[in-house]
């Protein structure tokens, strides 16, 4: 997909371009806020990656401006660790996700993929999510595999729901911590792994194909094929 990167640090932007190119994405780069706003207005990008601190026009104002002009291209904010309220501010300002520097490239790639999906044609909110013979009912809060009911705890349900909504895409540990548990720090214990292992025990054990797969060095992916 075509991605616009607005980032003034030349070294970081070179690394990001390299990583995204490696995944087959086409990246154009702006090193200045005003320039970036112009390029974003021109359109044609699947995702914008915007640094919060930019010369010319800061990232938050840039995105607010775009949103005010009814431009809804998905935005991933990049930031150095600064104010604690930055994340909330960034999401309120129209960002779709937020990534704190320094970050691992798999984290960036996974988040870009996930927010790009949101730009796709938005069906009315689905009632059921399906992956192969796995079915999750969002209204009744029930899960079936191969027609047999599976009992899940509330947080296991949320975990599975997030995996299914992002079917076929890698979700990272940090994304799971943020979206399933609203945790925004790096825990010392393997919270994600243990919950995932319980979920797998209920969803995958005793079935022929493993739907939940571990992606080495990145995270997890739910695939139905």
């Amino acid at each position: 997909m075509k991605i616009l990167l607005i980032e003034d640090d030349k070294e970081i932007s070179a690394h990001i371009v390299y990583a995204l190119n490696g995944e087959g994405h086409e990246v154009s780069v702006c090193h200045d806020g005003q320039e970036g706003l112009k390029a974003a207005r021109a359109g044609g990008h699947a995702v914008l990656i915007v640094d919060r601190m930019l010369p010319g026009l800061d990232g938050l104002s840039l995105v607010r401006q775009l949103r005010a002009e009814d431009n809804h291209t998905p935005v991933l904010f990049l930031t150095t660790m600064s104010g604690l309220n930055d994340r909330v501010e960034g999401l309120k300002g129209g960002g779709d996700d937020y990534l704190v520097k320094p970050f691992a490239f798999p984290e960036l790639l996974a988040r870009v993929e996930v927010i790009a999906r949101r730009a796709g044609p938005r069906d009315s909110e689905p009632v059921r999510l399906r992956a192969g013979d796995l079915e999750l009912d969002l209204i009744r809060r029930t899960v079936h595999r191969g027609g047999k009911p599976i009992e899940l705890q509330a947080q296991e349900f949320r975990l599975l729901e997030f995996l299914m909504r992002n079917m076929g895409r890698v979700v990272t540990r940090a994304m799971l911590l943020e979206h399933v548990w609203d945790l925004h720090f790096d825990p010392r214990t393997n919270i994600v792994e243990t919950h995932m292992s319980r979920l797998r025990g209920k969803v995958d054990r005793g079935h022929g194909t493993e739907l939940i797969q571990t992606v080495r060095g990145s995270g997890y992916m739910l695939r139905a094929d």
Binding site: L84, V88, A104, A154, L183, F185, D186, T189, T194, H195
Partner: protein, 449 residues
């Protein structure tokens, strides 16, 4: 420098008091002048009317010659400083005043005699048509008295000004001497001698109170500086270790790696090491941000008990995998205002500590009790506990117990817990509670409903 004291507060106050004193002296002087003027005039008029009465009596009993006799007697009298006149149709018969146009009643007039101008106050009367008598007193004496009063007042006024300047100079000199000493100490402190303190005289006056307040501030700053330099030392020291390890690994990888797989493994290890260093920085920055305290804007009402239940749900599988048990004790209903994300991080830290730093089979209990305007949330375990003398050290940044050095972590957990608690006006306490194990209590102050 010589006129510097003119600009001191002490001198300004003295000048103000001197001004007030001078004005009072002037008001008093004016008052005295009015009073003496009135009193002397009254006295002259009393004497005058007595004299006139005597002359009149003389005339009434024995006629004109007796009136002349009385005038002459009065003029010879020892106490008489006044003036008398008796005249018949414009011709003076007796007295020591020049002839004048007769006027009745009390009045004053001026005349000159022997080159001296004089002022006279008195009473004039007709004894019979054509026979006129006047008795009066000298106003010049009054003028002399008034001039003397005025002179004394001026002397007092001058003395007041002089005393004010002298005392102002003295006060400001002693003030200046002390403030100069304080300023000099401050300059010495700025030069880098943070141990110096401002001189306190022990009199408990305003300068002493100021000096004491500044000294307390200096002590606080010194403590913070010491903490800061301690932390920077620790950081520098703690960072050297992982960075050195990183360097060693990279060196060894370059020397020993043969296959691409060898290189990949070495690089993975190097990346993990770099992540560890970045994590240390992130944790330090987070503490600094929380201590910076601009986070209260994110405060919202929340149920502490519900939060602890969610924490149990979150960590129960983790504890189970570590062979521990995580359970809920008594949970009172407690609502507070706080930052949910930070409180989640606080309790995560405490629960993770209990999971990571205890042997398998430890029972960890979360509880929440309200008592006496406070709510105490506790994370307790029945593990080996921590010796009491180490309790305070646990809150220090980058402090790690010998026993836990092999575990992952930066030694920042409890420092972060303390920072978050502090932001919420809560206190953190470690307790052994007489039982085996360690209890960490976070005590929130409840707002009065």
């Amino acid at each position: 420098m010589r006129i510097r004291f003119l600009r001191t507060e002490g001198f300004r106050l003295s000048a103000l008091y001197a001004g007030i004193f001078a004005i009072s002296v002037m008001i008093l002087g004016a008052f005295l002048l009015v009073i003496t003027n009135q009193a002397l005039r009254d006295q002259i008029l009393t004497f005058s009317s007595t004299d006139i009465a005597a002359i009149r009596n003389g005339y009434a009993s024995e006629g004109r010659s007796e009136a002349i006799e009385v005038v002459q007697q009065l003029m010879a009298g020892p106490a008489n400083s006044g003036f008398l006149l008796l005249q018949d149709r414009g011709r003076a018969l007796a007295g020591n005043l020049p002839a004048m146009a007769p006027r009745t009643g009390t009045f004053e007039f001026a005349f000159s005699a022997g080159g001296q101008s004089r002022e006279v106050l008195g009473e004039g009367r007709f004894l019979s048509p054509g026979l006129y008598a006047f008795a009066g007193g000298d106003l010049t004496r009054l003028r002399t008295v008034q001039a003397r009063i005025l002179g004394i007042m001026l002397d007092l006024f001058g003395a007041a000004i002089l005393i004010a300047i002298a005392s102002g100079a003295l006060v400001s000199w002693s003030f200046l001497r002390r403030t100069d000493a304080m300023a000099k100490t401050c300059q010495d402190i700025m030069q880098g001698d943070l141990k110096l303190r401002l001189p306190v005289r022990g009199a408990g006056d305003e300068l002493d109170r100021l000096a004491e307040a500044i000294n307390e501030m200096l002590a606080r700053i010194a403590a913070l500086m010491e903490n800061l330099s301690q932390v920077s030392n620790d950081i520098a020291h703690d960072l050297r270790t992982p960075v050195t390890h990183l360097r060693h690994r990279l060196e060894r990888a370059r020397a020993d790696s043969r296959t691409p797989e060898d290189y990949r493994l070495a690089l993975d290890a190097a990346i993990a090491k770099a992540d560890e260093i970045l994590g240390l920085f992130t944790a330090l920055l987070r503490i600094a941000q929380i201590e910076g305290g601009d986070r209260r804007s994110a405060f919202a009402p929340l149920e502490l008990g519900e939060l602890l239940e969610q924490m149990r749900e979150l960590f129960e599988p983790v504890a189970e995998e570590a062979g521990d048990g995580l359970q809920l004790g008594t949970l009172d209903k407690v609502s507070i205002r706080g930052d949910r994300q930070l409180l989640v991080q606080l309790f995560s830290n405490l629960i993770e500590n209990a999971i990571v730093h205890t042997p398998r089979g430890t029972r960890i209990t979360l509880s929440l009790l309200r008592a006496e305007g406070r709510a105490v949330a506790a994370v307790s375990d029945d593990g080996p506990g921590v010796p009491r003398e180490e309790h305070d050290k646990l809150f220090r940044r980058l402090y790690r117990r010998e026993a836990s050095r092999s575990q992952p972590g930066y030694g920042l957990g409890l420092a972060l817990v303390a920072a978050i608690a502090d932001l919420h006006g809560a206190t953190v306490r470690l307790a052994n509670g007489g039982k085996p194990g360690l209890t960490v209590e976070v005590s929130f102050l409840l707002e009065r409903a």
